[in-house]
Structure formats: structure tokens, C-alpha cells
Amino acid sequence: MDFSGQIASLLNASAILPEAIVIVTLLLVLIIDLIFGRKSVPWLPYFAIAGLLASVIALFYGWDNPNPTSFLGSFTSDNLSIVFRGTVALSTAITILLSIAYIENTGTSLAEFVGILLTATLGGMLLCGASELVMIFVSLEMLSISSYLLTGYMKRDPRSNEAALKYLLIGAASSAIFLYGSSLLYGLSGGVTNINTITATLQAGEGLESLGLAIALVFMVAGIAFKISAVPFHQWTPDVYEGSPTPVVAFLSVGSKAAGFAIAIRLFVTAFASVTEEWHFIFTALAILSMVLGNVVALAQTSMKRMLAYSSIGQAGFVMIGLVADTQAGYSSMIFYLFIYLFMNLGAFACIILFALRTGTDKISDYAGLYQKDPLLTLGLSLCLLSLGGIPPLAGFFGKIYIFWAGWQAGLYGLVLVALITSVISIYYYIRVVKMMVVKEPYEMSDIVKKYPPVRWNMPGMRPIQVGLVFLLIATSLLGILSNPVVTIANKSVSSSLVLKASLEARINNISATEIKTVL
């Protein structure tokens, strides 16, 4: 075998074909923008979307890759990562669709926005498959730094600046803490950075070593909990959601969060397999705190974006149930829920963007009486919010019930009960918005809605939002009822993932061992 062939087989570079497509798209977007300037703007975003969709198709063809490990073990392109990478790419594609009118309205450069967004996507996609500490760190930072830039994209707007600064400082600090944890992990394992092999070398010793491992665990949880905005690492969320441009929030709430959950699964299941009980405990606490605090504080919000920020904290709590369950059903319910969350949350944000474009505000009280003026927007926002609240037959109901089912099956009765109760609370604040829009009589209409411009879809940039919104609404309404194929894919991705398989089997053996013990 010649040398280059050997290298190629070691690198197995074809595994990152989807990412390569995104990179090429990104470079082309930048170059085209340089050459043609503003003239290229009208079709540039569609080019980016095409690139992302091509990447999704490439992911689809990478399904059931017989040799998922690539780049000497830094990146694993197994089915689990494919599902998450697909979610991230899809969320970006839809976000671009929603952002065209918004960005043009503010007079900033669309091409640069798309470029940074694609970089963030790239980071997120790489993070989903990263299986080596350096790789995790680099892709995490790629996602984070691009997110800071996106958050501060409206550079003339002090609110956007402030959100970006807060996000950057808290984010950088949390990634430094994460890094400290990974350096400890590197040391404790005696110089291994690949998380698949790290467990074998981590001695399950007593005293200092287990203390070190516990510290590493806590530090790394802090880093990841920041990304998925779990309480108490959530303080940035409401500020960033309120201050930054709405399309960015849409991406952060879905794409960035999905990547965070992907790495959470991979990291904790593999590297921290010897302290399974500990990380289960930590995530149980995080889940309860997130569900309670997120959903309760959301009750008091007056700004739509802030309310959705707290709601997204609560939703992250629900998803963590799947992680804590640590079973086949648990993981596939997580994937299923995140996939559904993509559509319903982006749908809600699409409506908010649309409303903000027409009126320039996002206060909840300004939505009063919207039903009279814009039934489509009202219907869309109502469907998405009710779906987030878990009202059947919308997608969110099935997602939630699957997570609860999985959690209950894993014996997490307390956690599921907390989730059930907090989801009733969440119904209350979601339906408050629906009530505001639908129930108010014409004379109770807010001044903003009274001056609501006539609904026109033929203005520049409106068509894509309309297309995106309709697509998201259809997905939100039907994805739950027709969820069988999606769940089959999620299940398959979990069961075929070597990483999870080993962990699940170990757990089953463990359980049967303890059962035997109790019998004896």
C-alpha cells in the first residue's frame, strides 16, 4: 500500500463530506460576496440553503457508515452524530430562510451574516461527532465564537452589544472551566484524549483520583450545561434572547442546543462511564431546576422573546430526562424531541420575526387582538406555542409523552412527575399568549395592532418567511401524528451507535447483577 493511500484510510476523510460541503459553501459565500458585493445578495442566501440541504443529503448517504471513525479517532460519523448533524444543518437552513427580510431590514450585510451563521453551523456539526478532547474544544469554540459574533451582529444597537458582551464573557468563562475539566481528564487518564478509550485508562481508584474525576466531571458539566442553558448556568439565556437579532436566537435555541445535547450524550456516556451515578445525579438536579425555574419564571415575562428564553430553559429540562434515563428509549426520545423542537420553536420564532418586521415590537401585550388583523400569523403562533406546551395532537405532545414514557420506564418517577406538573404551568403561559391574540375584542386591541399594516406577502424577503412558516407549521401539526418514521430513525441511530450500545449493555448487565444480588 502506498503512503498516501495509507494516510487516506487512516484519515477516512469521506466521513466529513457533509462538513466539507458546508465549508465549501461558506468559502463560496465569502468569495462571491467579495467579488460581486451587494449585487449578489438576492440569491446568496438561497445558495447557502442549497449548500446546507446538500450537506443533509450527504449525511443521508453516510447513514450506516461501516467505518465511522475518522481522523485517527477525533471524529465519529456514526448514526447518532448523523441525526444530530442533520438537525443542526436543517435548523440553520430554516434560520437563513427566516433571516433574509430581518437582516435586510436593519441594513446590515446579509452575506456576512450568512457566513458567520455557516461557521457556527460547521462548529455545531463537528461538535456532534467530536470524540476527542481537542476536537471537542475546538469545535465548541468554533460554535461559541461565531455565536458571540451573531449575537452582537446589530452593532449599532446597544442592546445587541450588551447581549453579545454578556454572552461572550459568560461563554468564555464556561468554556475555560470546561477546558480545565478536560485537562484534568487528560491527566487522570495518563495522557489519553480520545473519549472512547479514556474510560479504560481511568482508574476507578479511591481518594485523590476519584476526587479528581469528580472535579473534572463537575467542570465539564458546567461547560455543557452552559451550552444547553440548564439552570443554574442559564443566566445568559434571557438577556441574549432579548438583545440579539431574532433569527440568531432561533438558531441558538435549536441548533446550538442540539449540538450541546449531542456532545453531552457522547461525553458522559463514554468518558464518565465509571461515574455514571454521579452524572445521573447532577443531571437530575439540573433537569429539575431547569424545569421548575424555567417554567415558573416564564410566567412573569412581558417580552415574547424573554418568555421563549425561559420556556427554552424549561424545555431543555424536559430533554434532560431522556439523558438521565440513559436507556435506548431515553436517547431516542431525546433525539425525537429535539427534532420536533426544531420545528415548533423555529415556527414560533418565525411568527415573532414576522410580527416584529410588521410592527417593530415583541411585547406580549402588543399581540392583543391580532386575530382580527392577521389570522394566519395568529394561527401559526398559536399552533407552535400550543405544541411547545404539549397540547395534542400537535407534535410537541408526542415528543413530551415519549420522553415521559421513557423516563417512567427507566424508573424516574419523581422526575417525570415534576415534568408533568411543570408542563401544566407551561400550558398556562403559552395559552396566555394565545388568549391575548384570539380572545381580545376589537376594542381591547393594542395600539400596535390597531396600526397593523395590511398583510402583504410580495414585499422583498417576505416570501421566504412565508414558505418557511408554512413548512414549519405543517411539520409541527403533522410530525406528531406521523411520527413513526422519525422515531424509527432515532431508535436506529441509538441502537447502532457503538458508544451507546456498550454503555447500555453494561447498564443492563449491571442491573441484572444487582437484581441477582437482591434475590440472593
Binding site: L133, V134, F137, V138, E141, I145, Y148, L149, G152, K155, R156, D157, P158, R159, N161, E162, A163, A164, L165, K166, L168, L169, A172, A173, A176, I177, L179, Y180, S183, L184, Y186, G187, G190, G191, T193, P238, D239, E242, G243, V297, A300, Q301, R306
Partner: protein
């Protein structure tokens, strides 16, 4: 005489704590950014120490440290850019006065 690995770790931990302290107490945004650099340097020390003592063959820790330094630079660049933007808009970089967003 040998310098034990523990000394490096303790130094790194001390540096890390100083960084955290600076992070919590600083009012000036640039100082907060500097504190974060301290945190990252503590991590670098850790990595170098581990790499020398435990992994002298593959020195993955040193490679890791190079990546960390690079990314820290990128982060600082973005951070300073954002601070610059906020200074233009608000004429201040005092953390306590960034209070447009709160609940």
C-alpha cells in the same frame, strides 16, 4: 532534584482561582477578559505538566495547549471587538452599567 508534577498542578489551580476571582470582582470589561485569559493559561499549565510527566511520547497535551492558545487569541479578538462596539455606543465599559437587559 525533580520538581514534582503536583507543584505544576497547584500553581495552575492557584492561577485558575485568581482568574475566577478576577472574573467575579472586575467591573471593567477588559479586566474580565484578562481574567479569562488567566483561566486559559492555568489550563495550559495543567496540560503542559501532564504532557511532560505522563505523556512524554505523544505530547498530546502540548498540542492541546497550542490549540488553546490559538483559540484564546481568537476569543480575545472577538471580545475586544465587541467591547469596542459597546464603547462606541455607550461610552463606557463598566460592567455594572450594562443593564438594558434584565427581568
Amino acid at each position: 532534584m525533580d520538581i514534582q508534577l503536583e507543584y505544576f498542578l497547584i500553581l495552575a489551580a492557584a492561577l485558575f482561582c485568581i482568574g475566577i476571582f478576577g472574573l467575579v470582582t472586575s467591573r471593567n470589561a477588559v479586566r474580565v477578559l484578562m481574567s479569562i485569559e488567566l483561566l486559559l493559561n492555568a489550563v495550559n499549565l495543567n496540560l503542559m505538566g501532564f504532557s511532560n510527566y505522563l505523556d512524554p511520547g505523544e505530547i498530546k497535551g502540548q498540542v492541546f495547549a497550542v490549540f488553546v492558545i490559538t483559540i484564546a487569541a481568537a476569543e480575545a479578538a472577538v471580545g475586544l471587538a465587541i467591547i469596542l462596539a459597546i464603547y462606541r455606543n455607550r461610552d463606557t465599559i463598566d460592567m455594572e452599567r450594562f443593564n438594558l437587559l434584565k427581568w
